[in-house]
C-alpha cells in the first residue's frame, strides 16, 4: 500500500475529491497547509510596514491506496488539480506498511 500526498491549490479540492471518487478511492484525509516554492507570494501592508507573504495557502490531501492504484490516482489528481500556472503543487508517494481500521480492527487492504 502507498500513501499519496497531494499538495494542491485550495479551490481545487472539490474537483480532486470528485476525481478520486470517480475511480473508487473511498477515503482521504485533508489538511490545511501553507506552501513555499516557485510561486511568488504577495506583499501585505499594515500601517506602512510591508511583509512579503511567501507561504501561500495550500491544501494537503492524503489518501492511502493499494499499490496497483497509485498511477491511476496520480493521473486523476494531476488532471483535476492542474491549472497550468505556477503553484499547482506536488504529489508525493510513500510506502505504507500497515493499515488498521479502528472501528473493526481490520488490517491492510481490508482496512482501506
Amino acid at each position: 500500500m502507498k500513501k499519496i500526498t497531494a499538495i494542491i491549490k485550495p479551490f481545487k479540492l472539490d474537483e480532486v475529491k470528485e476525481a478520486l471518487g470517480s475511480i473508487g478511492v473511498q477515503g482521504m484525509t485533508v489538511t490545511e497547509a501553507k506552501g513555499f516554492g516557485r510561486q511568488k507570494g504577495h506583499k501585505e501592508i499594515y500601517r506602512g510596514a510591508e511583509y512579503l507573504v511567501d507561504l501561500l495557502p495550500k491544501t494537503k490531501v492524503e489518501t492511502v491506496v493499494v499499490s496497483e492504484m497509485v498511477d491511476k490516482v496520480i493521473e486523476k489528481i494531476v488532471s483535476a488539480a492542474r491549472t497550468g500556472t505556477i503553484g499547482d503543487g506536488k504529489i508525493f508517494v510513500t510506502p505504507i506498511e500497515k493499515v488498521v481500521r479502528i472501528r473493526t480492527s481490520e488490517r491492510d487492504r481490508d482496512a482501506l
Partner: protein, 400 residues
C-alpha cells in the same frame, strides 16, 4: 429649538451611523474569509465618502429648494446649514442634515452586498460617487425634499423607497452587469463567520431604532410608536423567516433569524410612524416569508446577488411600501390606508414604488455601463481566486 428633540435626533444620528459598521459585520460574516475585508471596506469607505459627497453637494441636491425632480444649490458645502431651526421641525438645521447624512451612507453601503467578492475598488469609488449624485439625491428629493412623490402624498416614514427599494434595485443592476462570481453554484460559498453576521444583525436592530424612531424628528408619541412597531415587525419577520425555512429546508438557522430580522426592519421602515402594533406584526410576518422566498428564487433566476440585497431590501422594501398603503392609520400618523378605508393610498404607494424602481434601475445601469467601459468593474480572475482582500487591499483578515 427644542432641546429634547435635538437630543433625540442627535442620539438617533449616532445610532444610524452605527448601522453601517453593523452592516459591515453582517455582510462580512457572509463572505468567504479571503474577501471579508474588502466587503467591510465597502461599508467603511462609504462612511467617509458619502459624508463628503453629502457635505459638498448631496445635501443641497436633496434638500435645498429646487424643482419637482432635484433640489437646488443653496446648501452646497453646507452653506447656511447651522443653528437655525429646520423648517417644520424643532431641531437645528445641522442636526437634520447630519441625521440625513447617515441615510446617505447606509443606502449605497447596502448595495455593496450585490457585488461582494469581485468588485474593483477604484471602480467601486467612482460608481458610488455617481450613484449618490444621480440616483440617491434625486430620489431623496422626490420623497422628502419637496419633490413630486412627497407632494403627491406618498408615505415613506423612514426610507422604504429612498433607502431600501432604491438600494435593492441598484443591487440588481449591479449583479446583472458585473456577472457571477467565479465558481458560483459549483464551489461552496459558505459564510465564513456567522458570529460576525449575528453581531452585525444585533447592531442593525439596535441602530434601526434611530433610523425609524429618529425619523419622527422629535421625542414624541410618534417616535415612540415608530419604535414599537419597528421592534414588533422585526420580531415577527425573524420568526416567520425561521419557521418557513424550518418547514421547507428542515432546520431553523441563525443566518435565517438574522436575515428575517433585517427583512422585518426593512419592511417596517416606510410604515413606521403610520401603523399600529398588530398591523406591524402582520406586515413583518409577511415580510419574513416573502423575502425568504425571494432569496430562494434567486437560484432559479441565475444572477449572483452575493448577499441577497435584492431579495431582502428590494423585495422587502417594496412589500413595506405597499403595505404602508394597506395598514396606514390616520389615528397613528399620516393618512389612512386601504384597510382603514382609503384605497387611493395604495395606488399612490404603487406609483411611488414603480417610479423608484424604474428610475433607480435605469440610471444605475447607465452608471454601471459607463464605469465598466471606462475602467472595468471586476478584478482579474486570478485576483478573484486569490481573494480581493489580498489583491485589492494587500491584507489578510485573520492570522490566528
Amino acid at each position: 429649538m427644542n432641546a429634547a428633540d435635538t437630543a433625540w435626533v442627535l442620539a438617533s444620528s449616532a445610532l444610524v451611523l452605527l448601522m453601517t459598521p453593523g452592516l459591515a459585520m453582517f455582510y462580512g460574516g457572509m463572505t468567504r474569509s479571503k474577501n471579508v475585508l474588502s466587503t467591510m471596506m465597502h461599508s467603511f469607505f462609504l462612511m467617509a465618502l458619502a459624508s463628503l459627497v453629502w457635505l459638498f453637494w448631496g445635501f443641497s441636491l436633496s434638500f435645498a429648494t429646487g424643482n419637482w425632480f432635484i433640489g437646488g444649490l443653496d446648501f452646497l458645502g453646507l452653506t447656511g446649514v447651522g443653528a437655525e431651526v429646520w423648517p417644520k421641525s424643532t431641531i437645528p438645521a445641522s442636526t437634520f442634515m447630519i441625521f440625513q447624512a447617515m441615510f446617505a451612507i447606509i443606502t449605497p453601503a447596502l448595495i455593496s452586498g450585490a457585488f461582494a467578492e469581485r468588485m474593483k475598488f477604484s471602480s467601486f469609488i467612482v460608481f458610488m460617487i455617481l450613484w449618490l449624485t444621480f440616483v440617491y439625491a434625486p430620489v431623496c428629493h422626490w420623497v422628502w425634499g419637496g419633490g413630486w412623490l412627497g407632494g403627491m402624498g406618498a408615505l415613506d416614514f423612514a426610507g422604504g423607497t429612498v433607502v431600501h427599494i432604491n438600494s435593492g434595485v441598484a443591487a440588481l443592476a449591479c449583479a446583472l452587469v458585473i456577472g457571477r462570481r467565479k465558481g458560483y453554484g459549483v464551489v461552496p460559498m459558505m459564510p465564513h463567520n456567522l458570529t460576525l453576521t449575528l453581531l452585525g444583525a444585533g447592531l442593525l436592530w439596535f441602530g434601526w431604532f434611530g433610523f425609524n424612531a429618529g425619523s419622527a424628528l422629535a421625542a414624541n408619541a410618534s417616535a415612540s410608536m415608530a419604535f414599537v412597531v419597528t421592534h414588533m415587525a422585526t420580531a415577527a419577520a425573524a420568526i416567520s423567516w425561521v419557521l418557513v425555512e424550518w418547514i421547507i429546508k428542515g432546520k431553523p438557522t441563525t443566518l435565517g433569524i438574522a436575515s428575517g430580522a433585517v427583512a422585518g426592519l426593512v419592511a417596517i421602515t416606510p410604515a413606521a410612524g403610520f401603523v399600529g402594533p398588530i398591523s406591524a406584526v402582520i406586515l413583518g410576518a409577511v415580510a419574513g416569508v416573502v423575502c425568504y422566498l425571494a432569496v430562494l428564487a434567486k437560484a432559479g433566476l441565475g444572477y449572483d446577488d452575493s448577499l441577497d440585497v435584492v431579495g431582502i431590501h428590494g423585495v422587502g422594501g417594496t412589500w413595506g411600501a405597499i403595505a404602508t398603503g394597506l395598514f396606514a392609520c390616520k389615528a397613528i400618523g399620516g393618512t389612512d390606508g386601504l384597510f382603514f378605508g382609503n384605497a387611493g393610498q395604495v395606488v399612490t404607494q404603487i406609483v411611488a414604488v414603480g417610479a423608484t424602481i424604474v428610475y433607480s434601475f435605469v440610471v444605475s445601469l447607465i452608471i454601471l455601463y459607463v464605469v465598466k467601459a471606462v475602467m472595468g468593474l471586476r478584478v482579474t480572475e486570478e485576483d478573484e481566486v486569490v481573494g480581493v482582500d489580498t489583491s485589492e487591499h494587500g491584507e489578510t483578515a485573520y492570522n490566528l
